[in-house]
């Protein structure tokens, strides 16, 4: 099957959003960290894209800025599979003859969109950072790669979940539930931190926590906050996200397998 068959204009839109997102985030963090000159770019990436001060989550704005690239991504891909099924399913599935092939293609597409969107976001951030005067030493390249993979797995899982909800509710509004889960997860972490300090170990079980590298037991001191969960390893997050992706992926498979399109346009 020709790969062009699955080319999507959505890719062009995500490319532009990723470039703009990277520029905006780099500028925002330059403004909010004006006293930190000559930062190494890898540290800047880890602090700016992988750090959220848990004390500031209830101030809302830091959480919103942190979530911005994710929100742009999910608003564009959250109904991708569902809308492909509803709009082109008739002419595509009757040719493919097998929903499984279509499912795997769609999973690959979501992963691909997530992969390139994040890559472009990081690259755009790096170029803007260079223009803003950060040093290009990349001392923590491996850690940046870990952050990239954690974000990739988290966003892919959320995007697939959003599509699952779209199929179940027969609407393109799956992203509403996913964004809700994302923020409930963030704010619950902050709530536990503030109100139930003894329950902090539960924070590692929230999906959004996985991509916040500064909360992990990590060799770098990132951000201003001292908040870090002692036993929260990167390995835990990789396994957590891997399992989460499999569960949600299987769920999407079952939902698509059972789905019948009968809405009349």
């Amino acid at each position: 099957m020709n790969i062009a068959f699955f080319k999507k204009p959505i890719g062009k839109r995500l490319f532009i959003l990723a470039v703009l997102g990277g520029i905006l985030l780099a500028l925002y963090f330059k403004l909010t960290n004006f006293n930190k000159d000559n930062r190494d770019l890898s540290v800047a990436i880890l602090e700016d894209l992988g750090t959220l001060e848990i004390e500031t989550i209830f101030h809302v704005l830091p959480a919103l800025v942190f979530a911005l690239p994710f929100l742009l991504f999910i608003l564009n891909t959250g109904d991708f599979v569902y809308s492909e099924y509803e709009t082109k399913g008739v002419i595509v599935l009757t040719r493919l003859q097998d929903k499984r092939i279509w499912y795997w293609r769609m999973m690959f597409n979501i992963f691909k969109l997530s992969f390139f969107y994040l890559a472009i976001l990081f690259i755009s951030f790096i170029f803007t950072g260079i223009l803003l005067g950060y040093s290009v030493e990349f001392t923590y390249l491996k850690e940046v790669l870990f952050l990239y993979i954690l974000s990739l797995l988290t966003w892919t899982a959320f995007s697939v979940l959003s599509n699952v909800v779209c199929f179940i509710t027969r609407s393109g509004l799956g992203y509403v539930s996913v964004i809700t889960i994302y923020f409930v997860s963030l704010f619950s972490s902050a709530f536990i931190y503030d109100v139930f300090p003894t329950g902090q170990k539960w924070i590692i079980w929230f999906p959004t926590s996985q991509q916040i590298i500064s909360w992990h037991d990590f060799s770098l001191n990132l951000g201003e906050s001292a908040f870090r969960l002692g036993s929260y390893t990167l390995e835990f997050s990789f396994v957590y996200l891997f399992v989460l992706n499999i569960i949600i992926g299987v769920w999407l498979y079952i939902v698509i397998h059972r789905y019948e399109s009968y809405e009349e346009g």
């Binding site: 099957m1 020709n2 062009a4 068959f5 080319k7 999507k8 204009p9 062009k12 709009t87 082109k88 399913g89 008739v90 002419i91 595509v92 599935l93 009757t94 040719r95 493919l96 003859q97 097998d98 929903k99 019948e260 399109s261 009968y262 009349e264 346009g265």
Partner: protein, 214 residues
């Protein structure tokens, strides 16, 4: 000779029968016209025949193969159910090429011929998003015939078409029938049915019966 056979098919959606005990047989080399008011079950019937809906009870057979048991979809089918969405950023030819790449049954010549037969220019580079509704409908017809399918299932094929295009589509359907395809059309335009159909059925509240259009 190909056959499609519906054996006592009932389909329930949200506890409501959209098809009730439909038993019908379609043979190659004939055009079957189905008419009925909106909501009578024409589109649901077509979705069931194409494998897009699974009967609640009863079965659909394509020759001796049972849908949803032996096969998931009819092995050779051209479908229009409502005006399908295309890849808007690409030209009509590119859209057909992408669809044809799935089964690799249609050659470049087949794609060009099908576009010409519906009155579209295969060298037109404009993206589909710039097409009028009528041009999209022509493209839909072209995608439905380009692979020379054994079964053609067209729901309202002349929707949004001007007189000239309606004539083209009618000619195409007759040619497809003569080629040996099973042609099923549903239309609220009784002229389409009257002029084209060898056998006519009327649908009402999910039930089907043979009817004569005067």
């Amino acid at each position: 000779m190909n056959k499609v056979f519906l054996d006592n098919v009932t389909k329930q959606i949200k506890n409501e029968n959209v098809l009730t005990n439909v038993s019908i047989e379609f043979e190659s080399g004939k055009i079957y016209g189905i008419f009925g008011r909106n909501g009578s079950g024409k589109t649901m019937l077509f979705r069931v025949i194409c494998g897009l809906l699974k009967p609640t009870t009863g079965s659909v057979y394509y020759n001796n193969l049972r849908l949803h048991k032996d096969i998931s979809f009819p092995p050779s089918v051209g479908v229009i159910i409502e005006t399908p969405a295309f890849w808007n950023e690409f030209s009509g030819t590119e859209n057909l090429r992408m669809l044809a790449s799935i089964q690799k049954k249609a050659s470049t010549k087949d794609i060009r011929d099908s576009l010409i037969s519906v009155g579209l220019d295969p060298d037109d580079k404009r993206p589909v998003k710039k097409y009028s509704l009528g041009m999209r409908q022509r493209l839909a017809v072209a995608q439905g015939i380009m692979e020379k399918p054994d079964l053609i299932v067209f729901d309202e094929p002349t929707n949004a078409l001007d007189e000239e295009a309606v004539e083209l589509v009618r000619d195409i359907l007759v040619r497809e029938k003569e080629r040996g395809a099973i042609v099923l059309i549903a239309s609220h335009n009784k002229d389409d049915i009257r002029l084209l159909a060898d056998v006519t059925y009327q649908m009402d509240s999910g039930k089907i019966k043979e009817a004569v259009l005067i």
